[in-house]
Amino acid sequence: MGLFRREKEPPREGDKQEYVSPSQWKMIWRAFRKHRLGNVGMAIILVLIVGAVFAEFFAPYDYKDQYNSYSFSPPSTLHFRSESGFSLRPFVYKTKRTFDRETYRPVFTEDTSKKYYIRLFVRGSEYRLLGLFKTNIHFFGARSEDGDEAMVFLFGADAYGRDLFTRVMIGGRISLAVGPFVILLGFPISIFLGGISGYYGGGVDMFLQRFGEVFMAIPGLPILLVIGAALSGFGLSAVLVFFGIIGALTIVSWAGMARVIRGQVLAIRQMDFVSSAKAAGASDVRIIIRHIAPNVTSYLVVAATLTIPGMMLSEAALSFLGYGIHEPMTSWGQLLNAATNISGIQEHPWLLIPGVFIVISVLAFNFMGDALRDAVDPFSIV
């Protein structure tokens, strides 16, 4: 469907008219570039991926570090104006936690005696960039003129005084990785079984269809919850639970994908060029690789892109309910697990921030997938 399609520019006079037929992928790319929202989606995804890959660099702290005296600290206020006038460079003040005498709620007050400017490329906790290079340079941090450090919580802090911005950056890794991992695991299964089913038809098709229907008869979220509960019951390590979740998501989603692929293969198999190849004596393997595969790959790319949002949402829901990713690992859904009750949200609304990242990234994937679908299918009129 056409979203925000740009008008085609008429060829200018003097333009050299070339008559070359571009490759299929070039044509898809060209059509994709015309979808503004699809391009915006792709740009957002690229930014998010860069953020996730260099998460430790962009995050000012270690995501496990607890600053207990800053438990539930609200987001730091970035100041631009002080008694000495306006400064383009934002600064923060150190905050001190006191307790309200009546409600016994923590109150954070700023100590305005000393300014801590936000500086770029400051030295902080040590980490390995890309898991390889040991370094301690972080993208930003707050330091005073004499090099004294102040905490800066862009998104506030959680119950243990951990920086939420840092945790959002690190959590994005898991949230963004879930979709691709499920595709990596599930697509080969779906392509293989769906392909066989569509190409050979008959009894094989019958059997595989019935087999797939069993998986499609199991309701997604409830079964994911039960598998998640079983996984956490075993007391597995966080990494194993992560792969368990990937496995569970694959189990509930492969059958649907296989059915789509079967449909595609079935449609192409009945086309004249396949019959001609058969008549010319081409082997099954040759027909599949040379004739069918090139016609299905573009649909696969689209299907993959459109699978990711659903997987991200499922992972988020599972982790939010406490049956998905768990400590010490974190994801956007898992971070929202801290915001389950209304009184907690009322007092610490910044705990909802990770959800905004889920919305943005899922939206971006949906836009991109939608634009890709249009680009791949030249016959769709909408």
Binding site: I218, L221, L313, A316, F320, G333, Q346, V382
Partner: protein, 330 residues
């Protein structure tokens, strides 16, 4: 038609039995059961524990346990006992108004979603590529991309912290304010229900609306490009008649199958919404059972959701065949 429905219904049985086996095995491999937790409770004596074990066949092999459970279901319609409520699973999951509320919430949400999405889809198609079409599509996508639980949380936060509805004597979550729960039905109680149910409508509905709007839009655009529409226009019929009498009536047909397909989606969507908004539905009872490791209730719940899903697919196929006489049953 009737033989088709009967055959499809019979076909659901083996599927349900396989699903029951899968859910049984899943619960079986789950470490620790309700009895392990009961052991920690000093008030429960060893004899009671042994009795419970024997009664549920928990000391026998997996297959024997599964067989005992399945036999009870088939012969007596007995899905087992809830260890938590000490009542049958059926009661724990459905009674106390839970099944009724699930159906009410699902059906009203579906009705509203359709009543809003279809006109919006028609509007979108007749205003193709206009700013209003783009805006609608954008908001549709937004609704699709917001996780239900996050939307519900934000809504609760807005109502409580920003609009401070508590100051006006209005509560959030659940289906009624406390003072209305036991009260007899009255206009005030109904009003209170409406106040509590609209967040659920909004949260569950938005996730399905995008798909419906876009489907309706696409289907109508397809139809509008057909020749009989051109003929109708050439006859000089007013555009309104062309769209509503000629095009929409045909464009809406393929959507009917989405009606049944959206049933399972409603269950998943309302599962998490019911938990956040604290609605007394089957989904919520299922989730509490999961937290308590109340195994028979979990298995019963999975079977129920599976049945719901299969019924949804069946309804979809029947409706599609009903609106489109070209479809043959095979």
């Amino acid at each position: 038609m009737i033989t088709y429905i009967v055959r499809r219904t019979l076909y659901m049985l083996p599927l349900l039995i396989i699903v029951s086996l899968i859910s049984f095995l899943l619960i079986y491999i789950m470490p620790g059961d309700y009895l392990t937790r009961a052991q920690m409770n000093p008030q429960v004596t060893q004899e009671t524990l042994a009795q419970m074990r024997a009664a549920y066949g928990l000391d026998q092999s997996v297959l024997v346990q599964y067989w005992l459970w399945l036999k009870q279901i088939i012969l007596h319609g007995n899905f087992g006992m809830s260890f938590e409520t000490m009542r049958p699973v059926f009661w724990t999951l459905f009674m106390g108004g839970r099944l009724m509320w699930t159906i009410i919430v699902s059906l009203t949400t579906m009705l509203l979603t359709w009543m809003i999405s279809i006109p919006l889809g028609i509007y979108s198609a007749t205003h193709q590529y206009k700013p209003s079409d783009h805006t609608l599509t954008f908001f549709g996508f937004l609704g699709l991309s917001i996780p239900n639980f996050f939307f519900a949380l934000v809504l609760l936060w807005l109502l409580v912290a920003v609009f401070k509805v508590g100051n006006h004597g209005l509560g959030v979550g659940g289906l009624f304010d406390n003072r209305f729960i036991a009260a007899p039905w009255s206009l005030a109680k109904f009003g209170n229900l409406l106040w509590h149910i609209w967040p659920a409508w909004l949260v569950i509905g938005t996730s399905g609306m995008a798909g419906l709007i876009r489907y309706m839009r696409g289907s109508l655009l397809d139809t509008l490009s057909l020749q009989y529409v051109q003929t109708a226009r050439a006859k000089g019929l007013p555009e309104r008649t062309v769209i509503y009498k000629h095009a929409v009536r045909n464009a809406i047909n393929p959507l009917v199958s989405m009606l049944g397909m959206s049933l399972p989606g409603l269950v998943s969507g309302s599962l998490i919404t019911a938990i956040v908004l604290n609605l007394p539905t089957v989904e919520r009872a299922f989730f509490s059972a999961l937290q308590m490791q109340d195994q028979y209730v979990i298995m019963g719940g999975l079977l129920f959701f599976s049945l719901f899903l299969l019924l949804g697919n069946l309804i979809a196929d029947i409706l599609l065949a009903w609106v489109d006489p070209r479809i043959r049953y095979s």
